[in-house]
Amino acid sequence: MNAVTLKEKKNISYKSCFDVIGPVMIGPSSSHTAGALAIGLVANKLFKGLPKRVVVKYYESFAETHKGHGTDFAIISGILGFATDDSRVPDAIKIAESQGIDITFLEESGDSPVGHPNTADIYLEDDSRSIRTVGISVGGGLIKVKHIEIDGFSLNPQGSLPIMIAISSRNNLELELRRIFKKYEVDINNSTNLEKDGKYLYQFDLDSQLSGEARKELENLSDIANIIIL
């Protein structure tokens, strides 16, 4: 696998007022409930659809306190695609199980593999495919994504969202993607290109949220690439 990583800009985690006054959410913990839901949502966006089997590994503070904080139903809510203030959040596990999803939670006793006390490692699969993502909940509902496995690729992003991933059989998408970011004035903090078995993955760590129009233009590429916006 060939990897090219370019670090393009300094990373600030909390860019919006609403990262510290917000989110509006179902209690009881922003890092263990809202943040956990956000990590589940990353898995949902990577998998695109409902899995048959979910395995969640918890580390450190997540491992010690996930039961009390509702971390379990929060992560499953994310995997189901619920919003943080969706009233179905506390019932997510029942809802998932009623749809035939097999769920396992594991409390790991060692240190977090990515060096953060609020770490969750989520694995989703069905009969034909699987994804894995390791997320950390840094406080106030904000998360970082430290590791992703998808389509045989393995990624270690800087962490802050948004992250845009395109997977395609075409090796010439980078300029087109950069053109769209430039058009909508979205700065790129970091970018990585990977190649494996004739497939190409383009990953961009972005500095600001994408507008609805920018998203639409990216999603228009869906017929030639699997477009994932985290």
Binding site: I12, F18, I21, M25, I26, G68, H116, P117, G140, E185
Partner: protein, 292 residues
């Protein structure tokens, strides 16, 4: 983006604008949003806070699924109405708002994280009481939240706001300092006075550990928010009285971060230290989680 409190104070003085204007302008620029979009979002946050306080005193109050917390906002409201409170109506109204909000949070109700859910009562508590004292309009209250937010972003980007990283000082401590700074501005104080209030409030809660019983955001979290609110009101009053602080706010943020790094894992939201490890704390954990 503003990355220090010093920069905020200097910009507010240089441009002769309130801090909330700096916050709104930065938000519009960074998130490429319109004024109306940014305003509507903060208004929704305010409504969420108001609804939580309101819900906390309906009937007998709200109770968490474990039954460990709940109903205290109703008790405080009744006590307040008796007119006999020692710390006075203004203080106890703030305490009622703070505890009520965190009771709703523990009951898995809808709240606004400020900056976290565990600390979600501190800022609404201050706002709930000073809106009466200072006769704040709805617009003023939204301004208060923008000012709180700008100060909060400095803490979040230079230190941390997660109990798992920095203990409760990073959560209720940060919230209390944010509220103190915003309360000073709402009361007509200067940007420097806001910074002094911020510094005092955060210093007073330096070293506060995160030790949730059974890992739940209930004991001692709910009452810590009452103290966060009270501390913010005291710090704001001190600054407005002209009592200054020799240690500047940015340095206190750095100190908070260092103290957090020095805290053992047991005292950073693992439920393995502090009041969580008292005999009663352990008994509660065993009962609820069925361990050992």
């Amino acid at each position: 983006m503003y990355m220090s409190i010093k920069e905020i104070v200097e910009a507010a003085n240089e441009k002769q604008v309130p801090i909330y204007e700096l916050a709104i302008k930065q938000e519009m620029e960074v998130t490429k949003s319109t004024f109306d979009e940014v305003w509507a979002k903060m208004e929704k946050n305010l409504e969420t806070m108001e609804n939580a306080v309101k819900r906390s005193v309906e009937g007998d109050g709200v109770f968490s699924p474990t039954g460990l917390t709940g109903g205290d906002a109703v008790r405080i409201k009744k006590y307040l109405e008796s007119g006999k409170s020692l710390s006075g109506d203004v203080m106890m109204r703030g305490v009622q708002g703070a505890i009520g909000t965190n009771e709703v949070n523990a009951a898995m109700g809808v709240i606004c994280a400020t900056p976290t859910a565990g600390a979600s009562g501190t800022i609404p508590g201050v706002l709930y009481t000073i809106k009466e004292t200072l006769q704040l309009s709805r617009e003023d209250q939204i301004h208060f939240l923008f000012t709180s937010a700008l100060f909060g972003m400095i803490v979040a980007n230079n230190a941390c706001i997660a109990g798992a990283l920095g203990g409760c000082q990073a959560e209720v401590g940060s919230a209390s300092a944010m509220a103190a700074a915003a309360a000073v501005e709402a009361a007509g104080g200067t940007p420097e006075q806001s910074a002094h209030a911020f510094s005092t409030a955060l210093q007073n809660l330096l070293g506060l550990v995160c030790d949730p019983v059974a890992g739940l955001v209930e004991i001692p979290c709910v009452k810590r928010n009452a103290v966060g609110t009270a501390n913010a009101l005291v710090a704001a009053d001190l600054a407005l009285a002209g009592v200054n602080n020799l240690i500047d706010a940015d340095e206190v943020i750095d100190a908070m971060y260092r103290v957090g790094r020095q805290m053992p894992r047991e005292l950073r939201e693992t439920g393995l230290g502090g009041v969580a490890e008292t005999p009663t704390g352990i008994a509660i954990r065993n009962k609820i989680l069925g361990k050992e």
